[in-house]
Every structure is written in structure tokens, then in C-alpha cells.
């Protein structure tokens, strides 16, 4: 049984901070979703999405070395059925607007409930 209202989703998460990955993994799992892939950098995120075709990608912004979260979103913007969330510590209106233009949601880390709400909306859609 999962606390969320929608159907379970297949999720890929990507962050260079292991703590952040573990937290997302734990919370999304407890929310009833299936975390099918964990990437440590941007390239791994792209590769996992292309390989696993998840419903949602939750990706950090800054993951040196390699492509950052926005580059990952740009690469995967035409990937069928994929919803993307840039989940970051950088509060930046320009970056946020760019992510929105690319069809992704830009969220600040620190409030898991907002992330859950965004994913629930995807589920509902």
C-alpha cells in the first residue's frame, strides 16, 4: 500500500551526493514508487533513462564532471513518456525558467513533500 494517490511510477534518480540519492531512494520507495535506476552523474542519468524508459527522472543540477542536470534534460526532452524534475540546491530564476522551457519541473531540495506532490500530479495525469 502506498500513501500517494496515483499509480506507482518507475523512477530514475541521479545525484553526485550519495546521501541525496539514498534519501530520494528511501522516500520514493516509501511513497510506493519503484526506483529502477540510480545515477551518480549526468551521463549515467541519460544512459539509464534510455535503457530503462522510466516514467520520471529526478536529476540534480550540478554533478561534475560531465553534463549537468539541464544538459541531461535537453538530451532527454524528446524521450517518450518521460517526466523530468530538476531537483537542486541552486535557487536561480534563470535556471528555473530554462528548465521549464525544456519541459522539466525545477524544484529546490529540502522539501520532499513538494517533490511528492509534483510526482503525484504526473501520476494523476
Amino acid at each position: 500500500m502506498r500513501p500517494g494517490s496515483g499509480r506507482p511510477l518507475r523512477v530514475v534518480i541521479a545525484d553526485n551526493d550519495p546521501d541525496a540519492l539514498d534519501l530520494l531512494d528511501l522516500d520514493l520507495d516509501l511513497e510506493g514508487h519503484d526506483v529502477v535506476g540510480r545515477g551518480r552523474n549526468g551521463q549515467e542519468a541519460i544512459d539509464l533513462c534510455r535503457e530503462l524508459n522510466p516514467d520520471v527522472l529526478v536529476v540534480d543540477l550540478r554533478m561534475p564532471p560531465g553534463p549537468n542536470g539541464l544538459v541531461v534534460v535537453e538530451e532527454l526532452r524528446d524521450h517518450p513518456g518521460l517526466h523530468m524534475v530538476v531537483y537542486t540546491n541552486y535557487r536561480d530564476a534563470k535556471l528555473s525558467a530554462r528548465a521549464e522551457r525544456l519541459g522539466a519541473t525545477y524544484l529546490l531540495k529540502g522539501d520532499l513533500r513538494t517533490l511528492r506532490t509534483v510526482i503525484d500530479k504526473i501520476t494523476a495525469g
Binding site: 500513501p3 541525496a20 528511501l26 522516500d27 561534475p64 564532471p65 540546491n89 529540502g110
Partner: protein
């Protein structure tokens, strides 16, 4: 924004330098032009002066000759000479000149219309009356025109002579000529005067007759000789020819010419030598001063540009630091809040060990947050005047062992090999601060070398304790190594996190203990950071045990 501004400044700097160089060149050119003009004007003035001197000399000589002519004419005109050979009447009249000839070196003679020697005074031995006198120019006098005869052997002296010659007339008919000889020798009156006109070492003044023979000269060796110099054939005035200068001016009364000659180097040297020396000095001094000025200006510009670049760099680093710190602080905050929130929101759905692990991760994030804030606050304290330390004698093995254990506790899956000496390693230190150093070095190694085992070693060398933390990660290149202990520098470019303050703080703390900290690395083959602390004697209670 920075790059166009720098380009503008560089363009401005180059323009200032170019203007300085142009000003120096223009000034130098003006100096050279002025000095050369002064030299040219001076030389022309000198030439005019020299010509004027020779002109005056020639004019003076001309006047003297004319006066001499007039004087002789006054004596001769009243005489009623027949000019016949050995005429007693003539002889009686010519006795008038006896007084004039006292102490004289030369005499006079009379010739008839056919140039037969008819009379004379102070004639040389062997000269007989009635012989024909072949003196150049005499025929002109016999034609009725007074003249100064060119230099030729005399009849009244063994020396070369010039002759003042006047026609003798009866009625309007020329019946003969009267010739007064003057020797051409250093003892002659005007020769003695001209001899005083010496000019420098190479200059001479001379009078030459119509045939080019020297009748008077400041160089007495030339007297009576043909002047073998092409200046003789030059028109009147100042001339430069070869390496000589010369002035020629006419003495019309005698058909003579006054000639001045000198080496041009000596003639010009009197004026242009000092000018040239001054020019060389001015140009040298100007060039030196300009060079020094340009170098000084260039250095100032370079220093200013360097300072500007440094300030921009500092500013950029500070901006990046603020960005990094704010990001780095948010990361553990997000972890701390996230794990707590997840645990609270899913309390019922989580097993006990899951809750414990989540709370543990929250604690880990809180520690990370604590360490970061401490780094930032310590840096602020260091900049405000330094941290305070509380020193005590400590066995360094205990501190290193504790720090490794604490790290191992948080990162149980990492291999940390600890190498400690058997004997105590006594140092005087602030235990809390040394633990901070060790924790920083271990954290750095763990973050920089994911998955790599770490080797932590304590040893003693040359009176110091040496602690080293070595990893087998990607290491650092030379540029990274050179700046690894600088503030705000995140030493290894691949490191995902960090404020760039850790190693800076470590260095400040180790230095405050009288130790040193160094980093060595071979790129791709790991890095080792070592620090030293001075060894001290064992504490009394420990020594007693």
C-alpha cells in the same frame, strides 16, 4: 563583461605607451634638429668670419702696396732721368736715395727702353751695367704701366725678390724703368707680420703673386716657392676641397692673392667638436632618460594591470566562494531535513532499523553541516586576528587513532589502514584543532578518492612528528598542487563538494603549532597530504610511569 573592459584598458595602456614613445622621439628629433641647425649656422658663421679675416688682410696688403707705390712715385716723378747706361746725370740724381738705402738689404736699378741695366744701387757683385735685364713683367713697365714684378732672382740681393717698377718718361715718351727690389724672406717686413697670423696647427696665411709664387707666408718654408695647391686656381671666396678648407681673396694693386688654408677637421673642430660632443651627450642623456621613463611607465602600467587582475581574481573567487558555501550548506540541510521528514511522514510504514538508519543519516548530515559552518566561522576568525589555541602535551597516536575511528564509524565500508609507531609521539597541541585537521584530511581523501583505501601513518623525523594521509585516487596535477592550500580553492577539480576552506584552515592550524603541511601527488596515482608537529619531551607523570 570583464574581458572587453580589460581589452579597453590594454588598448589605453598601449596608447599611453605609444604616446610616451612618440613624445620622446619627437623631443629627440627636435633636439637633434636644433643642435644640427646650430652646428650648421655656427659653421657658416665661422666660414664668413674666416673669409672676412682674409679679405681684411688682403685689403690691408693692397692699401700698403698702393701707399708704397705712391711713396715711390713721389720720389721718382720729380727726377729727370735719361735712363741711359751709366749716365752721370742720372747717377747724380739717384744719390738722393742713398739715405734710404742705409741698412737696407736690397737696392734698386734703372733700365733703358731696351731693358739694358743703366744704373743702380747695392747691385750684386758681378752685375755689370749695360747687360739686358730679363725680369718677367718688366716689358709691361717699359710699355708705360707701373707694376709689382713677380718673384724672381734679384740684381741687388741673392734672395728672391719682388720688384716695384715704374716707367721713366721724358715728356710722354717712356725712356726706361726704375725697379726697386724687395727681398722675399722671413726677414722682410711684411713677411714678419704675416708670420704672426698662424692659425692652429695646420692653418697658414700666404700671399702669392700672379705666377703662384709665395711672396709672404705664415709658413716661412713656403717663401719664394710655387704654392702647389689647387686652391690657387679657385675663384675668390671660401672653399672646401678634400679634407681642407681655403679662402682666396685678391690683392689687386699687386696682382697678388691672399690665401688661407687649414685642415677642415681643425677648422670645424673649433666649433663643431664641442657641439657634436654636446649633441652626443644630449642624445645619450635624452635616450637614457626616455628609456628609463618608458620602462618606468611600462612597469607601472604592468603593475597596475596585474593588481587589477589580482583584485578581479580575488573578487571572482569570493563570489564563487559565496555561491559554493551557500550550496554546500544547503546540501547537508536538505539531507538533515529530508531524512527526518521521510521518517516522520512514513513512521508507521518503516521498520525500526529503517527508522534508525534514517535518523543516523540525519545525524550524519547534521555533522557535515556542523563541520562546514565551523570551517566558514574559523576562516572568519582567522581573518579577524587568528584562532585561539589551548596547548597541552599529547600523544599524537591517540589523536590520530581517534580521528580514524570516528571516520571509520561514519564510513564503515571504506578501508582505512592505520600505521602507528610503538612509542608515544609527544607533541604540544590543541587537541580539538589537531582533530579538526585530521578530520579534514580524512574527509578530503574520502571525497577525492572514492573507493580507494586510505593509509594514515604517524612517524618521527628530525625532531618532528609526521602525520600523513595517503589515498590512491586520481591525484592532482601541478597547478592544483601549487594552490591546494590557498583559500577558496577546491584542490581536486573532480571533487563534487567542499568549500575550498578545509586545507587552508589545516595549514593555518598546523603553522600555528610550529609545523608545516605539504601535499605531494602524481596525477592518476593518488595524493598524500602530510603535516609535521615539533616533538616535545614526555610529560612528567608519563615519564615517571
Amino acid at each position: 563583461m570583464t574581458i572587453p573592459a580589460q581589452a579597453d584598458r590594454h588598448r589605453r595602456d598601449r596608447a599611453v605607451l605609444a604616446a610616451a614613445v612618440a613624445a620622446v622621439l619627437i623631443t629627440s628629433a627636435l633636439i637633434v634638429f636644433t643642435v644640427l641647425k646650430a652646428e650648421r649656422d655656427g659653421t657658416q658663421a665661422l666660414e664668413r668670419l674666416q673669409q672676412s679675416q682674409v679679405e681684411q688682410l688682403a685689403r690691408s696688403m693692397n692699401t700698403r702696396i698702393e701707399t708704397t707705390f705712391v711713396t715711390f712715385a713721389k720720389f721718382i716723378q720729380p727726377l729727370q732721368l735719361t735712363a741711359k747706361v751709366n749716365d752721370p746725370g742720372d747717377k747724380a740724381q739717384l744719390k738722393l736715395f742713398d739715405d734710404l738705402l742705409k741698412n737696407a738689404r736690397t737696392g734698386f736699378y734703372v733700365v733703358d727702353k731696351q731693358a739694358h741695366l743703366s744704373n743702380g744701387a747695392l747691385l750684386k757683385n758681378g752685375i755689370t751695367l749695360g747687360t739686358v735685364v730679363n725680369r718677367p713683367g718688366l716689358d709691361g713697365v717699359l710699355a708705360g704701366k707701373p707694376a709689382i714684378l713677380s718673384v724672381a732672382p734679384g740684381l741687388t740681393t741673392a734672395l728672391p725678390t719682388v720688384g716695384y717698377a715704374f716707367p721713366i718718361t721724358r715728356g710722354n715718351v717712356v725712356v726706361g724703368a726704375f725697379v726697386f727690389e724687395a727681398d722675399v724672406s722671413p726677414q722682410a717686413d711684411f713677411s714678419a707680420e704675416v708670420a704672426q697670423l698662424k692659425a692652429g696647427k695646420t692653418g697658414d696665411f700666404s700671399f702669392v703673386d700672379a705666377a703662384g709664387v709665395v711672396v709672404a707666408s705664415s709658413d716661412t718654408t713656403l717663401l719664394g716657392k710655387k704654392l702647389n695647391d689647387k686652391i690657387i686656381s679657385a675663384r675668390n671666396g671660401f672653399h672646401r676641397y678634400g679634407d681642407r678648407v681655403g679662402v682666396v681673396e685678391p690683392v689687386p694693386a699687386a696682382q697678388w692673392r691672399a690665401v688661407f688654408r687649414q685642415d677642415s677637421s681643425e677648422f670645424d673642430g673649433a666649433l663643431t667638436g664641442p657641439l657634436k660632443s654636446a649633441l652626443v651627450l644630449i642624445v645619450l642623456a635624452g635616450t637614457l632618460a626616455a628609456g628609463v621613463g618608458v620602462v618606468f611607465l611600462a612597469r607601472r602600467l604592468r603593475a597596475a594591470r596585474e593588481e587589477q587582475r589580482r583584485l578581479q581574481e580575488v573578487s571572482a573567487v569570493r563570489e564563487e566562494f559565496i555561491s559554493i558555501v551557500s550550496h554546500e550548506l544547503r546540501t547537508p540541510v536538505a539531507g538533515l531535513l529530508g531524512f527526518l521528514q521521510t521518517t516522520l511522514d512514513h513512521w508507521e510504514g518503516m521498520a525500526d532499523d529503517e527508522r534508525r538508519r534514517a535518523i543516523g543519516r540525519s545525524l550524519s548530515s547534521a555533522r557535515r553541516l556542523h563541520a562546514l559552518t565551523r570551517d566558514v566561522l574559523d576562516t572568519g576568525s582567522m581573518e579577524a586576528g587568528g584562532l585561539s589555541y589551548s596547548f597541552s602535551t599529547t600523544d599524537l597516536r591517540d589523536e590520530v587513532g581517534s580521528a580514524v575511528l570516528a571516520t571509520q564509524d561514519v564510513m564503515p565500508d571504506r578501508t582505512i589502514r592505520l600505521n602507528l609507531p610503538d612509542d608515544p609521539t609527544w607533541v604540544s597541541c590543541d587537541r580539538e584543532r589537531i582533530t579538526q585537521v585530521l578530520t579534514n584530511l580524512l574527509d578530503n581523501a574520502i571525497k577525492s578518492a572514492p573507493g580507494s583505501p586510505l593509509d594514515v601513518t604517524v612517524a618521527t623525523r628530525n625532531g618532528s612528528a609526521v602525520v600523513s594521509v595517503a589515498d590512491q585516487g586520481p591525484g592532482m596535477n601541478e597547478a592544483e598542487l601549487a594552490r591546494v592550500f590557498d583559500k577558496f580553492v577546491r584542490g581536486r577539480t573532480s571533487t563534487p563538494a567542499g568549500t575550498g576552506l578545509g586545507l587552508y584552515i589545516c595549514k593555518q592550524i598546523v603553522n600555528a603549532h610550529g609545523g608545516d603541511i605539504t601535499a605531494t601527488s602524481t596525477e592518476g596515482r593518488g595524493a598524500t597530504v602530510s603535516f609535521t608537529l615539533p616533538l616535545v619531551a614526555a610529560p612528567v607523570e608519563s615519564a615517571q610511569v
